[in-house]
Symmetry: C2
Subunit: 379 residues, 2 copies
């Protein structure tokens, strides 16, 4: 986003000034509106993994058990972090593309009453699979009121509907580089009052990620350690832009991009990887005989378009198309067209134009607000 | 620096690409030249405190004792980090403005043979005091070959001479916002082969700051977790600029700024806080009856010039003037002139012009290379 890029280029303001305090305070308030929460927001000079670690080591002592929902690579990271801190961690494992249900999670919590926190992704980015946070959050809150719900929403925030307070999500964490479309290097998380209460007694070692100290500073618009000033300035611009467009509009645009992309890929013979496809990204297996890696590479060399491949076991098997950040429907239509051309050049038999046509039909069906309406809303 | 600011504004390159690998590799190599080392360099998406913590938790197990040199606020941070990780920490405490000598440190190491690492600052920024890293590094290395030497060089690097390899400094760590003059949010550190060897057996919990994992990734131009891409791009520009000017020239300019500032402040009736004044910054007590806070505030409101005050016990008692980053001698001369005007407006009796004259005499005495020579050297 040009405003955020320009903010990055501005001279760096000193962080022990009123100017920076105002910037921090406004940014934290904007994030509250995007997180749909009255909870405290903490910013960290770190990438998303740092925020995941901070949630674990501030909320769990080595004697306390966690439950990690592992539906892909980022779910596995919860387990690794718990291991690093000697925190026992039970695992609810799902096959690639499958989401965990509230029922399954609550069954686990019922079986293992010593579990103190559930760690999961809002969207498991490695498989582009979305978990039903609403039912998960509400049911855990109702049936297991002592269990904290910790959500990595790095790709879910500002793509999927997410009601931090209504659904009882104790920690929601995010990074700067996805929906907020600025450089990685800044992470932020919301903390419910009971999460804050819990932090006080937790014995896991932490210093840079000690959220007790950060909370005290950030409530005054400061940070415990030197903040990533330019990234905060850029994030401030992006949060303003999201609120200016309206969060509902941003979510609707992600949904529109995701639906149209799925429709196009289906028409072109791809299979969706996910049984609970996310709005943040679409993961798909190419038609038989088509190499995902070749297609990805061709899109880049031929058109300079970057889509992702698979990670871990899925490497070389899938393509992943992002619908978040500084993208809109026309970008997706251009990408789908480019995919059609690449497939044709790879001698894959497709009905040329069928992908774009499907996407257009889907877009027409959804009757998204016209661009002029959106521009009007933006004012 | 304009080149770095423009790099911040550029579209963000994806970090799993050859383009980013090349950027990382070049930046790490440039840092090696600035650190004067063949040791491995690790970049972290964190501020300097994160790098301090990573050094502690990767090099010391909870059973192993550290020695922290505490000559001010940043020395205290070593003790706090050790406490957070349950690492016993002995302290060599110095009064504000005093440096620790190699003799004192070695005496401590001799008395407490179980100490496994010495943690110190190259320059204690809170008092603008420089430790003699050369004699400290060499003597520890010679007399206590099993003790690791860990240096926070956040303000010392590229201001003071620093020979990582020649002086046997096992870890040297730095941040992006001081000599490198870009936004905070990126930290980097060098690791000697014996530090790398030690990491393998250390049991302190760590995940985001696990340098074993980072090392493996960064040797391939990658990072274990998403890197702060734009900050890496900006750092790349600054490292190139420092090497283009020549490190010796950059050090000489800091020295020149520091000497002229000290001379000017002395002429204006200030007293130096430090008995071992750093090149990175000058800390001084104003003449009797002059409020440091009032002077600091006046410089800002009247001229938009920002100098620092004291921290902790020194709050309100001293001024601190930085000589690092995007500053040169003319900036210092302008600042000294402004200080003279502010003092006059505060009805402090000074011989107007005496500060600048002293600074100029000092500059003339040092016979710094003329600007034209420096420009020639820069080419």
């Amino acid at each position: 986003m040009p405003e955020a890029q320009l903010a990055m280029a501005r001279p760096i303001i000193h962080h022990r000034t009123q100017e920076f305090r105002d910037l921090m305070t406004e940014t934290r308030q904007n994030l509250q509106r995007i997180f749909k929460t009255r909870n405290e927001i903490i910013l960290l000079a770190a990438s998303g993994t740092g925020a995941m670690e901070s949630a674990v080591c501030n909320l769990l002592s080595p004697s306390e058990r966690a439950l990690a929902v592992v539906a892909g690579k980022f779910g596995e990271r919860w387990v690794e972090i718990c291991q690093a801190y000697h925190i026992p961690c039970s695992v609810l494992e799902k096959n690639a593309g499958e989401a965990a249900s509230a029922e399954e999670i609550c069954r686990k919590l019922d079986e293992e009453r010593e579990i103190r926190a559930v760690l999961l992704q809002g969207c498991e980015t490695s498989t582009a699979t979305s978990h039903d946070l609403e039912s998960i959050g509400r049911r855990i809150h109702q049936e297991f009121p002592d269990v904290l719900v910790v959500v990595d929403a790095i790709t879910a925030l500002a793509t999927e509907p997410l009601e931090t307070d209504l659904w009882g999500l104790d920690v929601v964490l995010c990074g700067s580089q996805k929906s907020f479309a600025i450089s990685p290097g800044l992470a932020f998380l919301s903390l419910s009052p009971r999460a804050i209460g819990k932090m006080e007694s937790v014995t896991s070692p932490r210093y840079y990620f000690d959220l007790r100290k950060e909370l005290k500073s950030q409530q005054k618009g400061q940070t415990a350690y030197t903040p990533a000033v330019s990234l905060v300035a850029a994030l401030n611009e992006t949060t303003k832009e999201i609120l200016r467009q309206g969060l509902d509009q941003v979510l609707a645009e992600a949904d529109l991009m995701a639906r149209c992309t799925r429709s196009a890929l289906f028409a072109l013979g791809f299979k969706l990887l996910s049984k609970s496809p996310a709005r943040a990204a679409t993961a798909a297996l190419p038609p038989a005989g088509v190499s995902a890696s070749e297609l990805t590479k061709k899109l880049e060399t031929r058109f300079g378009m970057k889509i992702a491949g698979g990670q871990g076991d899925l490497k070389g098997k899938i393509i992943r198309i992002a619908h978040l950040g500084y993208f809109d429907l026309p970008d997706m239509l251009a990408l789908i067209s480019a995919i059609e051309l690449c497939l044709t050049e790879m001698n894959v038999e497709i009905e040329i134009g069928s992908g774009v046509r499907s996407a257009l039909l889907e877009a027409a069906r959804i009757k998204a607000p016209a661009l002029s309406d959106r521009s009007a809303a933006a004012r």
